[in-house]
Amino acid sequence: MTWALDHLGVIASLTWRHTLLAGIPLLLGLLVAIPLGWVAHRVPALAPVTIVGTGLLYTIPSLALFILMPLVLGTRILDPINVVVAMTVYTVALLVRTVVDGLRSVPADVDAAATAMGFGRFRRLWQVQLPLAIPVIAAGLRVAAVSNVSIVSIASLIGVAQLGSLLTDGYNRAIAGELLTGIVAALLLALVFDLVVVGTARLLTPWRSP
């Protein structure tokens, strides 16, 4: 506790970096997963390939992905971009299936009604399918958000500073307060991410609120 109080500035700045490293990939991943999921949904033959293919990305250990990114992207080894891209990959891996499930959850009669009203396929996606899929997509997004916050910590092993830096430093110098602070801060940040996703989903689906 004393450790945390003595280092509020450090904690705040690391938390902010952590937020960006976990949050930006969440948005990027969603933006990539929606078209991928939509294609997989529209062309059922592609669905297994897309879902399994992106799901496989999740089997790459995070540490390995972080380390290998500079070789793939040609970036410098300490670039935070490496972490952002790696986390985006994980987000996509988690969300494509979710988007497909979400689109599948749209009742066929609703979709048919929209078609009958003369909606084209993009207007249907934009105005009918995606809004109705929000609850399912949000559920997947919550998992991705929480897992992103946790995985980003590992980037401190490759010298990219965020809350995980408190963990590695606390461990290497055996400072219990610092280690605990890192854990609690990451936990609270995950909670905030979760609340933001839930809150946004609720705002976007006013017809579901009591």
Binding site: T59, D101, R104, S105, P135, G140, G164, L167
Partner: protein, 263 residues
């Protein structure tokens, strides 16, 4: 780069000996198996009980919330505080195994719980009506019906444990993670990339095995009526995720997990 990774992977000399790929692979499988067994022994009974009795739901919520704890922090904390109290080489394995077990429990717990909980109440009532006792309902009706979701939870746990066991190398555990940590420390990218390929490959194979198990678990005699029933029974199926219909989906437990969150 790819050539050097390939030559590292295919050099027979790298496969032999104490630090060789064969023994690292064996260690990795060994740790993962032990972890899954322990986690399953804890989480499956708990999840089944909770789903059957409708009690202890907070357990599932708590386990889900615990997923947000950064694994690496937990690993550091346990090895720092537990390590000195354990003698011999166990000082390196025990903390890591403990953390991996904690990591594996939530998906298994959620899978077991969601599996039983998703059983149609009518089916449960029918079983009771036929004179089955509570434990018999659980054993003869709920568990078979819950099996696909339960295995789905196990599958996700296996994937997580195999992938995360690599990080435990940082606190002295063996296994394939050694190639990542040691390769990183000594700047040998071929070793790191080779290690990454091995871990991913192992995770993939493990996932395929679990997928096959999952298919077996969904015995054809049980599933189709259950599916039909649940679908027609849910007029409100609207924008809600069709939990009951996604038993063949590996990420199923994730949504089940968040579903329990929402409640």
């Amino acid at each position: 780069m790819i050539a050097s990774v390939w030559s590292w992977l295919t050099d027979p000399a790298n496969w032999r000996g104490a630090g060789g790929i064969s023994s690292r692979l064996g260690e990795h499988l060994g740790y993962s198996a032990v972890v899954i067994l322990i986690a399953a022994a804890i989480a499956i009974p708990l999840g089944l009980w909770s789903g059957h009795s409708g009690r202890g739901r907070w357990l599932i919520s708590a386990a889900n919330a615990a997923r947000a704890v950064p694994t690496i922090g937990l690993l550091f904390a346990t090895s720092l505080w537990l390590g000195p109290h354990v003698t011999g080489d166990l000082a390196f394995t025990v903390p890591s195994i403990l953390v991996l077990v904690l990591l594996a429990i939530p998906p298994i717990l959620a899978g077991a719980y969601a599996g039983v909980e998703a059983v149609d109440p009518a089916v449960r009532d029918a079983a009771r009506g036929m004179g089955l006792t509570g434990p018999q309902v659980l054993r003869k009706v709920e568990v078979p019906l819950a099996l696909p979701l339960l295995v789905s939870g196990l599958r996700s746990a296996v994937l997580q444990v195999v992938a995360t066991a690599t990080i435990a190398a940082y606190v002295g555990l063996g296994g394939l993670g050694r190639y990542l940590i040691d390769g990183l420390a000594s700047g040998r990218y071929a070793v790191m990339a080779g290690g990454a390929v091995l871990v991913s490959g192992l995770a993939l194979v493990a996932d395929l095995v679990m997928a096959a198990l999952q298919r077996l678990a969904a015995s054809p005699g049980l599933l189709p009526p259950g599916r039909r029933k649940r679908r027609s029974d849910r007029p409100d199926a609207g924008p809600d995720p069709p939990h009951g219909t996604t038993v063949d989906v590996p990420a199923g437990q994730d949504r089940e997990g968040s579903r329990t969150h929402r409640r």
